[in-house]
């Protein structure tokens, strides 16, 4: 359970990882997060810069978490694309970072997602590979086999592979600079032709179009899947009602408290207006 209120943590490192950066903080007050959960992040200084933005905290899935000494080390993967991500990408060791979390619904084990599922297929796209890195570590710790498929647009828009050490990963890139030239969902489609479709559960995080392709592929093949979605989010704990995702049976869910991990069949579409922005 997340402690109530936000707390100030110290940034311990910030390193490049391909075209992204991985920054870490030491959280002395919170519990170890589950894979798929997220934190709301805001730098202690320079938040609300010259243009008055960033103003709100930013939601980030945790990419790795490890108990270390007097706290929990939390790793986050960031790509500088807007005022919030640019400020976070520029954090330096010793800087303060306000966090609240861990928040939201995490990934569920394969046997909880689909009766009889014994393995996991992790499908990540772009900056969305982050939560899958922690999920893979947790699955391996539990002795559950996990195949990893990661896709990127091009070299500048790729990174985070450091988070997936010593494991077999299949890569795709739209420009062909690494792995299969094309989409990561091409790799998934091939994989789902085999026996694995009957014994595995799919876990995906990435841009909306990728997630929608995964959702449709899995629905067509009858494979259970969990998707880690993103939506504009002001608070992260159900207060603002901003992160509405259309449900397959009508109405909306709040992604922060009813997600960010959702079952494929729960949602009408992963192409939610405003998401991935």
């Amino acid at each position: 359970m997340a402690p109530f209120g936000r707390r100030l943590c110290e940034v311990t490192c910030n390193l490049p990882s391909g075209g992204y950066r991985i920054f870490s903080v030491l959280d002395r007050a919170g519990p170890e997060p589950a894979a798929g959960q997220f934190y709301m992040l805001a730098a202690d200084s320079g938040w609300g810069g010259e243009q008055g933005r960033p103003y709100l905290a930013r939601a980030f899935s945790v990419a790795d978490a490890e108990r270390e000494g007097t706290g929990v080390r939390l790793d986050f993967l960031v790509q500088a694309v807007g005022p919030g991500t640019s400020r976070l990408a520029a954090l330096e060791p010793g800087d303060g970072l306000w966090i609240h979390g861990p928040l939201g619904r995490p990934f569920a084990g394969p046997s909880d997602v689909a009766p009889g599922a014994a393995g996991a297929i992790l499908v990540g796209g772009g900056i969305g590979v982050a939560p899958l890195a922690l999920w893979r570590r947790r699955l391996l710790r539990a002795g559950i086999p996990a195949r990893v498929l990661l896709g990127f647009r091009d070299r500048p828009n790729s990174g985070g592979l450091d988070l997936f050490d010593c494991g077999e990963i299949r890569l795709a890139s739209e420009d062909g600079h690494t792995g299969h030239r094309g989409y990561v969902t091409d790799l998934l489609a091939v994989l789902l032709e085999g026996d694995v479709a009957r014994t595995g559960a799919v876990y995906a995080c990435g841009p909306p179009a990728m997630l929608e392709a995964v959702r449709v592929l899995c629905a067509d093949r009858g494979v259970a899947c969990e998707l880690a979605l993103e939506a504009p989010m002001a608070c992260g704990f159900g207060a603002c009602f901003g992160c509405a995702i259309p449900l397959s049976d009508g109405g909306y869910m709040r992604l922060c408290v009813d997600g960010p991990v959702v079952r494929g069949e729960e949602i009408e579409t992963a192409l939610v207006p405003g998401s991935g922005h």
């Binding site: 609240h100 504009p232 603002c240 009602f241 408290v257 207006p273 405003g274």
Partner: protein, 291 residues
């Protein structure tokens, strides 16, 4: 720091703005620590309507310089769903409960007040009048006559305090506040969000699924301060002030402008425990000013 609002004892002057804190969802996220460290001295519910509403299509949010535009569309379970599912959980909060209601006609408002005011868990009601009366086509909160006639219908229905939440989207909120007071309102609260719009930088279309939205956060604080000051000068009932309050100093300014109570909204998004922090800071500010 202890105070009172319409006879309701409050342990400090900081409450929440309606629709900016879901205590039930927050308890799911933070557990019973929320109850032990509850940040507000009273809790104002999200607005309930007679029938369930699912809210506006996404996107619902847009960040501005020092502010936030929202277009949420009042999602709620409706009166019956609120009474059955939400009220028992809100009754477990360690503070008095104020229920916000909104109807689109006198009859709808009367049904809401009837359904809510009789419940002993409810200390007071706030009337959200930022929507049109379908019978007249006028927005209740923009018309002194509409506000007066609504209060004349609702006032006899309950002895519990009725707060009227004023809209800032009007040249001068004072006549509506005066009309509400004259027709029996026990307090007024202001400001609601300022009507605002954002455009998608890529498509050029309006960004929010609901078209227009409401601006909140520090960006609106000076406007709120002016309206609170003007209204507090004109009425003798208590004023609940809100609009961009992010610190004890902001809260102290609202009190100096004439408010009895302050409400925190958007700042709670940035820090769930902001209400407690602002109450502590406010105590320091008041000591500094009087010292």
């Amino acid at each position: 720091m202890e105070t009172e609002l319409c006879g309701i004892h409050l342990r400090h002057p900081v409450i929440n703005g309606s629709g900016t804190f879901d205590a039930i969802a927050a308890r799911r996220a933070f557990g019973d620590a929320l109850l032990d460290e509850f940040p507000f001295s009273a809790f104002v519910s999200k607005t309930i309507t007679p029938e369930p509403r699912s809210g506006n299509p996404p996107p619902r949010l847009w960040e501005t310089p020092s502010g936030l535009i929202n277009s949420i569309g009042l999602p709620n379970k409706g009166l019956d769903g609120f009474l059955e599912h939400d009220l028992p959980q809100l009754a477990e909060l360690p503070v008095p409960l104020i229920v916000s209601v909104m109807g689109t006609s006198h009859d709808e408002f009367a049904r809401l007040v009837d359904g809510v005011a009789g419940r002993e868990e409810v200390a007071a009601l706030e009337l959200n009048v930022s929507c049109p009366n379908v019978e007249s086509g006028l927005i209740v909160g923009e018309s002194p006559e509409e506000a007066r006639s609504l209060l004349q219908v609702l006032r006899p229905l309950t002895e519990k305090p009725l707060l009227v939440k004023l809209t800032p989207n009007i040249a001068n909120p004072v006549p509506v506040a005066v009309a509400a007071e004259g027709a029996g309102a026990d307090a007024v609260s202001l400001i609601n969000t300022l009507r605002a719009v954002a455009f998608d930088p890529d498509s050029g279309d309006r960004w929010l699924g609901g078209g227009t939205g409401g601006l909140s956060g520090p960006a609106v604080r000076a406007v709120a301060l002016a309206q609170v000051h003007a209204v507090a000068e004109a009425v003798s009932i208590p004023v609940v002030a809100m609009g961009g309050i992010s610190s004890g100093r902001d809260a102290a300014e609202m009190l100096r402008a004439g408010a009895r109570i302050v409400a925190v909204g958007t700042e709670s998004f940035r820090d769930p425990a902001a209400g407690s922090r602002i109450a502590v800071e406010l105590g320091g500010e008041l000591a500094r000013i009087s010292g």
